[in-house]
């Protein structure tokens, strides 16, 4: 008996769901129960009457598993639409992170300079610390964090990915 390890792919899915109690638990629980991965998950209501939420899930797995994930999501009653942005074509992904760094002297100056290059804003400052706010693709944030680790990184809070299709059409 062999265990094949198929190559994983990263996919960004967006789900249009009813904004009601338990929807998130249903989806997250289904991922756990069936052994699927969640790299990040964001959720917020997106309609004026607050009846509908959009969930963005970044997942990874072999293509067959991604296909199953989509089908299993669609099977849930409060889920109306699942779009695989990675398959659908060009899309934009953004994530926000808050990054706390402490330090003095050169480190402090270097942190500010890097933040400037990465277009991170200072949203809190003490004589010993900064909190930066940075928005961008997950990779950009990863790179920024790598740099910050060299100049006094303390902690980070990340929102997870929000994503939309490019162009004029709705997702």
């Amino acid at each position: 008996m062999q265990i094949y390890k198929e190559k994983s792919e990263r996919h960004v899915l967006t789900l249009t769901v009813d904004n009601e109690a338990g929807t998130l638990a249903r989806i997250a629980g289904m991922f756990t129960a069936r052994g699927y991965n969640i790299d990040s998950l964001t959720v917020a209501d997106v309609t004026e009457d607050r009846s509908t939420s959009r969930i963005t899930i970044v997942t990874n797995g072999p293509p067959a598993m991604i296909e199953q994930i989509i089908a299993q999501c669609e099977r849930l009653i409060p889920v109306h639409k699942v779009t695989d942005l990675t398959e659908e074509g060009p899309h934009v992904e953004r994530e926000l992170a808050l990054v706390k760094v402490t330090g003095s002297g050169d480190n402090r100056i270097e942190a500010i300079r890097l933040a400037d290059i990465y277009r991170a804003r200072v949203i809190d400052a003490t004589t010993k610390s900064f909190i930066f706010e940075i928005t961008g693709s997950p990779e950009k944030i990863d790179t920024f964090l790598t740099l910050m680790r060299e100049v006094g990184f303390v902690e980070v809070g990340r929102t997870g990915v929000a994503a939309l299709m490019r162009g004029s059409e709705p997702t």
């Binding site: 338990g22 638990a25 129960a33 067959a64 089908a71 669609e74 099977r75 849930l76 009653i77 409060p78």
Partner: protein
């Protein structure tokens, strides 16, 4: 303000849905509903003896009538007791609406008396579930729940109703939302796909129809259409455990069940076919055996109402998401419209006859002791004219029943397939008898399984249900013993059915008739006596102890690696066979 309380709205909703029977058990958190029920003579309440029994009874009712089964239980232990039946219905796609009481909404989350997180516990074993906190939502939720349970791929829906919501008098007692807006129902199959499937079938040299429980769920018309399609294309037909009865077993194209305890001819034909048309089955591991060896050279067409069943375990070439009955009807129409003729399948049928000649279901002749297979064969012969409804428990007897009892119509075979729940058969028989008062309903049981919901004997007594329980008593948890024999060198750890009750006296204690049959010569007379008795009967049929169920594809083996060795009733299997297990 509506003059009706939540509990009254609930009952009105049931009546609106055409419900006349509810299987339940009262308790603190559902007292308002039971009080409303007290005044509603139109809805018949069947008082079970344990909530698992209520859920299984509702399953039996649903499976045998095609209508959704309704369950009513209290909060906490009432709900948790029902979970096994809910999970069972989920696995086998049985439409249930399960109403659970909940502590008052003001107490939820406070670890109140008999509080359990019912929606949390049942979230992943229901098709959908609700906690109704707003009494104005109740009518809408009830309507939607029935819609969801019965449309698309059927399944159980739980509605958890806090006690204060049952008492409250909301503004509205009628549904405010459209129920079906939220439910994805597949459209008719694409005619191009149907046409392509039909062309492939017509051009095949070795076609096979692999059918499943979806055909039963689709309704009797689907079985009729299947018979017609099989006739047109002259293809052999096999079925999963859940699909038995969709094709009459006396049809010459019937190969018997496939899979782990399926027939040699069915499994060989699956392995060798060139076009496989899967109709409402889901390539379960008990059916496919080792996946990389599963039907290696066939073009696979899969019709299923649930898109997530497609490409889940086996990649198929032509997926069709549709109600299987409608899809078969479309295929028949296209076939006839085009005046197609089946290819010459003589060679294929010759191979099949060769496999049939193996006589894989034969078993050792025994004049002294009753062979379990023989008992089921005689039971079939004696009862077939009554077109009985058969339920089973889980174990060897279940597989022997699937192999040796034969079905001619859908909705006559009720068994726990996906979950494999011991204790299913007796309550399911109760539900089936309630739904079919004139039918002969027999639970083919094991002596171990029957004890799992034995308390339901009282339910049958109370409602004068003339159920027959036919216990294949081998004094072992036979299926466990068989696996231990094949896999663990016959180290029979805890699989002996010790301290069995005297089933005759047990029957009598509940007002049933009890009988023992313990010799092959008495079998036919005993069965006749069982049938002739107007009331409920337990037959303790003492069979030989060590019979094993063959054929068998050991788990993880290919269809072609089937063990046929029915002479290994007590003996030792050879090393090669052992290695396969």
């Amino acid at each position: 303000m509506s003059a009706k309380s939540g509990a009254e709205i609930l009952l009105k909703s049931l009546l609106d849905q055409g419900v006349d029977t509810v299987f339940g058990y009262p308790g603190g958190a559902v007292l308002p509903i039971y009080d409303a029920l007290f005044k509603h003579p139109k809805i018949k309440h069947i008082l079970v003896r344990h909530e698992a029994g209520a859920a299984h009874a509702a399953e039996g009712y649903a499976r045998s009538t095609g209508k959704p089964g309704v369950v009513l239980v209290t909060s906490g232990p009432g709900a948790t007791n029902a979970v096994t039946g809910i999970a069972d219905a989920f696995m086998d796609s049985i439409p249930l609406v399960v109403i659970t009481g909940q502590v008052p909404s003001t107490l939820i989350g406070s670890d109140a008396f008999q509080e359990a997180d019912t929606v949390g516990i049942t979230r992943h074993c229901t098709k959908h579930n609700y906690l109704v906190k707003d009494p104005n939502e109740l009518a809408s939720v009830m309507k939607e729940a029935f819609f969801i349970a019965t449309h698309g791929r059927p399944g159980p829906v739980v509605i958890d109703i806090p006690k204060d919501v049952q008492v409250a008098q909301p503004d509205t007692d009628t549904p405010q939302r459209k129920a079906h807006a939220r439910c994805n129902i597949p459209h008719e199959a694409d005619i191009h796909d149907i046409t392509k499937a039909v062309e492939l079938l017509a051009g095949a040299n070795a076609p096979i129809l692999y059918t499943g429980g979806g055909i039963i769920n689709s309704g009797p018309a689907a079985s009729k259409a299947l018979i017609e399609l099989a006739e047109l294309c002259n293809a052999p037909v096999t079925s999963t455990l859940m699909g038995l009865g969709s094709l009459p077993s006396d049809d010459p194209k019937w190969l018997g069940m496939l899979g782990m305890h399926g027939t040699y001819e069915a499994n060989m034909a699956m392995n060798q076919c060139d076009v496989m048309l899967c109709l409402g089955a889901r390539f379960d591991d008990r059916v496919t055996g080792r996946l990389d060896a599963f039907s290696p050279n066939s073009y696979k067409i899969h019709v299923d109402i649930d898109r997530s069943s497609i490409n889940k375990t086996v990649r198929v070439d032509l997926p069709i998401v549709a109600d299987v009955g409608k899809a078969i009807e479309q295929m028949v129409k296209v076939w006839k419209g085009r005046k197609l003729k089946a290819a010459n399948l003589d060679k294929w049928w010759d191979s099949i006859e060769g496999w049939r000649d193996v006589k894989c279901l034969k078993y050792r002749d025994n004049k002294q002791e009753i062979m379990p297979q023989y008992a089921i064969e005689r039971l079939y012969e004696a009862t077939k004219e009554y077109n009985p409804i058969i339920t089973t428990e889980v174990g060897q007897h279940q597989m022997w029943a699937a192999q040796h009892f034969h079905f001619h119509k859908p909705n006559k075979w009720l068994t726990s397939g996906g979950l494999g729940t011991m204790g299913y058969g007796l309550p399911a028989a109760i539900g089936a008898q309630i739904g079919n008062p004139d039918a002969l309903v027999i639970d083919i049981a094991g002596e171990a399984s029957i004890q799992m919901n034995i308390q339901e004997l009282g339910t049958a007594s109370q409602y004068r249900l003339p159920i027959k329980i036919f216990i294949i008593n081998n004094q072992w948890m036979g299926m466990v013993r068989q696996w231990q024999e094949l896999t663990f060198k016959s180290r029979f750890s805890e699989s002996y059915s010790d301290s069995l009750p005297d089933f005759v006296r047990l029957a009598e204690a509940y007002g049933w008739k009890g009988m023992v049959i313990d010799h092959p010569d008495n079998l036919d007379d005993g069965i006749a006596e069982m049938i002739a008795h107007k009331g409920p009967v337990i037959v303790d049929c003492r069979v030989t102890k060590n019979a094993n169920c063959f054929p068998m594809i050991p788990s993880g083996a290919a269809h072609t690696e089937m063990l046929l060795d029915s002479s290994a009733v007590t003996g030792e299997m050879d090393d090669e066979a052992k290695a396969l297990v």
